[in-house]
């Protein structure tokens, strides 16, 4: 906003000065109606100046300001002077852009003086009074005083001419200088200010605007004869083309500035493209100028200048589309176009050529610049507003985002909470399940144990039944046998050698002995006693084995003899194995005691031996082929002593797939309902507790061997 206020302040100040200046410029008397021009078609190409002057083909002009148009040819004009009143005065042509301009003073048919005043000549001719070419009218007494001009220019030959005293010319020139100085001051201030803005703000449109100002100002400079200030008199090539170049570059910068300022590519794309087309045409004009086609170049530039009119509809459309700065732009260009129209109408004599119309162009262009500055400021404001809106939008979307994120967070938090709760619930469910599983497993282990015990009890009952059976039966039989013997003994006791019928008595006794088969009885007694002895021994052996075995529930680690454990296991298993396989064993007699849980180890041996026996059950072959071979040994390996127990069977063996799973819980090859599948998994657990190593070798059809090594 501060920017805009300062610009407004500047404007008021400069316009005030400018208007004050203009008011001092009085109306000027142009002598266009006194000008005669030579019909070119009737003028030979090479003709002496005097001959030209004497030509009969002069025709008078009617315009206040003659316009000879644009032509490549040499033009001639003359003005008949009043030698009485006008001598000593100056003839001024208010066109500083004529390339070749030579004025000849002809007194009574004689050339008395000639003056080179063209652009090309300006390098070696002292500048005349003011910026416009002036020709001093000689003081010579003549009857007929004519001034003849030879003109050639690549620009339109517009010839505002007047005759005035040096004081007036110089005075006007000074006034003009002051006005233009003011104008250039405005231009310069604008230029510097916008350049400064460009460097401080960094907005490209300020640079474009600066260039635009520079070029417009430069064009005015050149058009009004201030070329000499550019110090290019020594460069005639450039000097000739400077007007064209400024025309081209002011056009180009205008196009670029308009395109970007009005955002034409966004609001009016067709105009943007059209201006691009003009840009190219301008470049063509530039190239033509460089190659010396100055007339063509000027025509092209003139043609292109019409593009300025497109700015009006362009800015209107842009404004309609809500782009506020466009209204300033519209105002600026309307003013400028009006100024141009005034300038053109003035030249064509439709409106009077006076100071106002004369200054219309610079004034219009100055106002245009000022208004454009406002436009730029407004644009800045617009941009600021837009960016503020954008920021606000951004802020709002940020806040929205933040809110969304917060809400999302809440949702997430809730979800996490519910998930956590779910998980906790699941966890507790799983814990409960785990506990159930553990208790189920314990029950299974327990029932496996009970099953073993049941199996054992049955086996032991049978083992005990036999000796009890024959011991008790033998005892009864012995009693009867002894009754027989006692009968004989009693009979013998009654015998007395003194008896008279001793002979017959002895005979009777003998026949009794024969009848009772006492010899057999005696043998039988012997056998029965042997049986009783054997039975008693076996019973006590079983009971001893049972006692060792019954440590099954004793889970304490104690020192025990592995051989003894195996033997007791075999005793309790004997009746179970009896009808399945023969058991052979080789037990090393040098085994040291091992720290173990004897009850649990018995379970291990019982399981493996029972499995071994079962692997041979129901095989269609000789009983002798079914053999369980048990071996114990003391071994050394990897620097350690081991007690090695090998339990080998000649059963069906196992395929690799079965072998790899035998220690898995619930894995069983037995039909459903006949095994828990826990036996070997329990064995594994027990052996792990003993740090024992287990190795299983098996070949299908040949049998399996379990090798267990207990570390010492």
């Amino acid at each position: 906003m501060g920017c805009s206020i300062r610009i407004r302040g500047l404007r008021t100040a400069w316009i005030g000065v400018f208007l004050a200046m203009i008011s001092t410029v009085g109306a000027q008397e142009f002598i266009g109606t006194r000008v005669e021009s030579l019909d070119q078609s009737l003028t030979p190409a090479l003709m002496g100046v005097e001959a030209v002057a004497l030509s009969e083909n002069w025709s008078a002009h009617t315009d206040r300001v003659p316009n000879l148009g644009l032509s490549d040819d040499v033009q001639w004009i003359r003005v008949i002077l009043d030698s009485k009143t006008e001598n000593g005065m100056l003839l001024e042509i208010q066109n500083a852009g004529i390339d070749e301009l030579t004025g000849y003073m002809i007194c009574d048919g004689k050339v008395t003086a000639s003056f080179e005043r063209g652009v090309i000549a300006s390098s070696h001719v002292e500048s005349t009074m003011g910026t416009y070419p002036t020709f001093p009218i000689p003081l010579t007494e003549c009857d007929e005083l004519t001034v003849l001009f030879r003109l050639k220019s690549s620009k339109p030959l517009l010839l505002p001419m007047r005759i005035a005293g040096p004081r007036e010319i110089i005075g006007d020139s000074h006034q003009r200088d002051v006005l233009f100085a003011a104008y250039f001051g405005v231009i310069l201030v604008m230029l510097l200010y916008n350049l400064f803005l460009f460097f401080s703000v960094g907005d490209r449109s300020y640079l474009e605007y600066s260039l635009f100002i520079l070029m417009i100002g430069g064009t005015q400079l050149v058009l009004n004869g201030y070329t000499s200030y550019l110090q290019i008199q020594s460069l005639p090539w450039l000097n000739l083309r400077i007007t064209h170049f400024f025309g081209v570059f002011s056009g180009l910068t205008t196009i670029v500035f308009v395109q970007n300022f009005l955002r034409l590519s966004r609001y009016v794309p067709w105009l943007h493209k059209l201006l691009n087309f003009y840009f190219v045409i301008y470049l063509i004009a530039f190239v033509l100028a460089i190659f010396g086609q100055l007339i063509w170049s000027y025509n092209v530039i003139n043609f292109c200048a019409a593009a300025i009119f497109f700015c009006i509809p362009g800015s209107i459309i842009t404004m309609r589309k809500g782009y506020a700065p466009a209204k300033y732009f519209l105002l600026a260009f309307t003013i400028f176009i009006i100024a141009v129209l005034v300038f053109v109408l003035k030249d064509s004599g439709i409106i009077p050529y006076n100071a106002w119309t004369f200054f219309a162009l610079p004034l219009g262009s100055a106002i245009e610049m000022v208004v454009l500055s406002l436009a730029l400021a407004s644009r800045i404001n617009q941009l600021k507003k837009e960016s503020a809106i954008a920021r606000e939008e951004q802020m709002r979307s940020l806040q929205l985002n933040e809110r969304l994120v917060r809400e999302q967070n809440n949702v997430l938090e809730d979800r996490v909470k519910s998930r956590t709760a779910d998980l906790e619930e699941m966890n507790s469910t799983m814990r409960a399940t785990l506990e159930e599983l553990q208790s189920a497993q314990q029950q299974l282990v327990q029932s496996e144990k009970l099953a073993s015990i049941g199996q054992l009890t049955a086996g032991i009952a049978h083992e005990l039944n036999n000796p009890i059976n024959f011991v008790s039966s033998s005892a009864q039989s012995l009693r009867r046998d002894f009754e027989d013997l006692n009968e004989v003994v009693d009979a013998v006791k009654t015998l007395d050698p003194a008896m008279e019928d001793i002979g017959s008595k002895v005979e009777a006794l003998k026949s009794k002995l024969a009848k009772l088969d006492i010899d057999f009885t005696q043998r039988e007694i012997d056998e029965l006693l042997k049986g009783i002895e054997d039975g008693t021994m076996r019973t006590s052996e079983i009971v001893r084995g049972l006692r060792i075995f019954s440590r099954m529930d004793g889970d304490n680690f104690i020192q025990a003899q592995v051989n003894e454990l195996i033997e007791s296991t075999l005793i309790v298993l004997r009746s179970n194995l009896k009808d399945v396989a023969t058991v052979r064993y080789t037990l090393a007699d040098n085994l040291p005691l091992v720290t173990c849980q004897p009850g649990r180890l018995n379970q291990v041996f019982m399981n493996i031996i029972t499995n071994a026996a079962q692997s041979m059950e129901g095989l269609e072959r000789e009983f002798e082929d079914n053999e369980v071979y048990i071996q114990t040994a003391l071994t050394e390996s990897i620097g350690q002593s081991w007690i090695e127990v090998r339990i080998k069977d000649s059963g069906v063996g196992m395929p690799e797939g079965v072998k790899s799973q035998i220690f898995d819980p619930f894995f069983t090859t037995k039909p459903v309902g006949e095994g828990t599948g826990l036996g070997l998994s329990i064995v594994m657990g027990i052996l792990r507790d003993h740090n024992a190593e287990v190795e299983v070798e098996s070949e299908e059809g040949l049998g399996s061997e379990f090798i267990i090594r207990f570390p010492l």
């Binding site: 036999n466 009864q476 042997k530 049986g531």
Partner: protein, 179 residues
Amino acid sequence: MINVLYLDDEAHNLTAFRAAFRRDFQVHVTTEPTEAVRILREQPIEVIISDQKMPKLSGVEFFELIMPDYPNPVRMLLTGHADIDAVIDAINKGQIYKYISKPWNESELKALVQEASDLFHHRQGMASEGAKLMQRMNEARLHSTRIQRLTEGQVELNAEKTEDIARLAREITQLLDSN
């Protein structure tokens, strides 16, 4: 004396059994199934007792083995260990008459053997009665054939023939009534 065969892999049981029952029965004992078969061939065995749990051959298997050749002797299974499935199976198939558990009760066992022997003889008696009946039935059939022949194609019967027919009929009645 009842001829009893006892098969058991436990020799002491055999001794005890013989000592217990030699005064009442003609006792044959062995630990070997092949020897048992030999005894069956040579002796008029009425009752067979076998232990169930033996190596090589179970009691039920032994009975199955001898059934075709020696169906008549009454079979009893003796075991110390209830192999219930085998026992049920054996009883259902009619292979054994009684199941005795160890340790045996001497008087009970003795009574069972007696019973078994009675059953054996009863069966034998039934068999011979049946044979005799069959014989009489055959004779009666013979007589009836004769009567048929006598009456064949005869319109009128003379006294002699009538008397023959009456005699034959009497004899048939006699044969069928003699039971």
